[in-house]
Subunit: 205 residues, 2 copies
DNA sequence: ACATGAAGTAGGCAATGCCAACATCTAGTC
DNA sequence: GACTAGATGTTGGCATTGCCTACTTCATGT
């Protein structure tokens, strides 16, 4: 029963092993056959669950976005104890993003691998948008209580997301040089706060 | 003479063809043997110029950074005609970055492929740092003429670079959704201006 | 002239992705 | 309970790839 002809949940097992490989040796080291060996099935079994190698990578990326969405949402939720105004929540989300990015750089690079412009897997795009939505909601909250300046919350949140993502991306790419990530992150959050706050003096040029 | 045993400048020919392939079909479609066929040499000839496939990709990335450095520097230079204060120059650099990123998304993703954290090719890292230096100089100029707030120019410029890079990255990844890149770029520049300007009101929390 | 090394060639090997054909298990259906 | 259909897994094959080890050709300095 336990080790019958069929595996039970091969798809999940493949994804789990794939994520470990990606994290350890990078996405280029990902091999369907090696994966099958590791999991203990024949070399063609993965094809029953993933059309081709790229489909597996896409699934990995979508799962990564789903997990990141949860972590960002958890960081964004205002805590019962403490003030937790929008700026604190924004900083918390930024920290959560940086934590995710630095603890799983391989997965993150897979998530943003830009072979998804034209022939994008819709599920993957949707997962990415769901992740962005966390920040949209946060910005909308800030506008509702008057902390954040007026403007399309989608535009503003994209800017904030992009800035944090850029810092994390530079960090994992080794381009931050000797500048510690948390310092750069504090800086970027400070700039965002300065640029988004409702009571800032005329900053339009 | 022209088509003798040796090629003449095989290394450059391989790099040129490789960049075209990367731009058209992505870095995963890059094959040393196909490259050799395209250029008209035997399948082992590229090994005389690149230790392995990764070495070729690294060289491609370094060349990309070199070209981007030139374009950013050109955009950063204050024009003889017109005012060209630091903010205009900053916006111009941001536009130049976005242009480069969107016109060569494949090359850009190769440049930032984060397999260069530990075993980084020193030439590649240096090329990246040279590129960042353009923005460092720009920020230093802004601080010199009192436009930009005091602070480590390296830190501030990294923030600006990261923000712009993040927007470009989201754009090529299709995560900007229906938000046009130039709009997002204007927004991020506005936020940066608001966050970096010297005369802003107390924005430190 | 001739040795030396750089640059290109030819062939081999293991690994990979994908495909087709076959085997086994699971779930309905009568 | 037998039967069938489809999902899941296996085996074998093929073209391609990266890398390795010779071997060949050319250019250059003495």
């Amino acid at each position: 029963m336990t080790t019958s002809y069929h595996h039970g949940d091969l798809r999940a097992a493949l994804l789990a092993r794939a994520e470990a490989v990606v994290e350890q040796d990078g996405v280029d080291a990902l091999s369907l056959r090696a994966l099958a060996r590791d999991v203990g099935v024949s070399h063609a079994a993965p094809a029953r669950h993933f059309r081709d190698r790229q489909a597996l990578v896409d699934a990995l990326a979508a799962a990564g976005f789903a997990r990141m969405t949860q972590e960002l949402a958890a960081a964004s939720r205002p805590t019962a104890t403490g003030p937790a105004d929008v700026w604190d929540r924004l900083a918390a989300v930024a920290r959560a993003y940086a934590d995710f990015a630095t603890s799983r750089p391989g997965l993150l690079s897979v998530m943003y691998a830009s072979k998804h412009a034209e022939d994008a897997d819709p599920a993957l795009l949707e997962a990415g948008h769901a992740c962005l939505q966390v920040v949209v909601d946060l910005v909308a909250d800030g506008q509702a209580d008057g902390s954040i300046a007026d403007g399309d919350p989608v535009e503003l949140s994209r800017v904030a997301f992009a800035a944090v993502h850029g810092v994390a991306s530079l960090s994992t790419g080794g381009l931050l040089e000797d500048l510690p990530l948390d310092v750069a992150l504090d800086r970027v959050v400070a700039v965002l706060v300065g640029g988004l706050r409702a009571d800032r003096q005329r900053a339009d040029r």
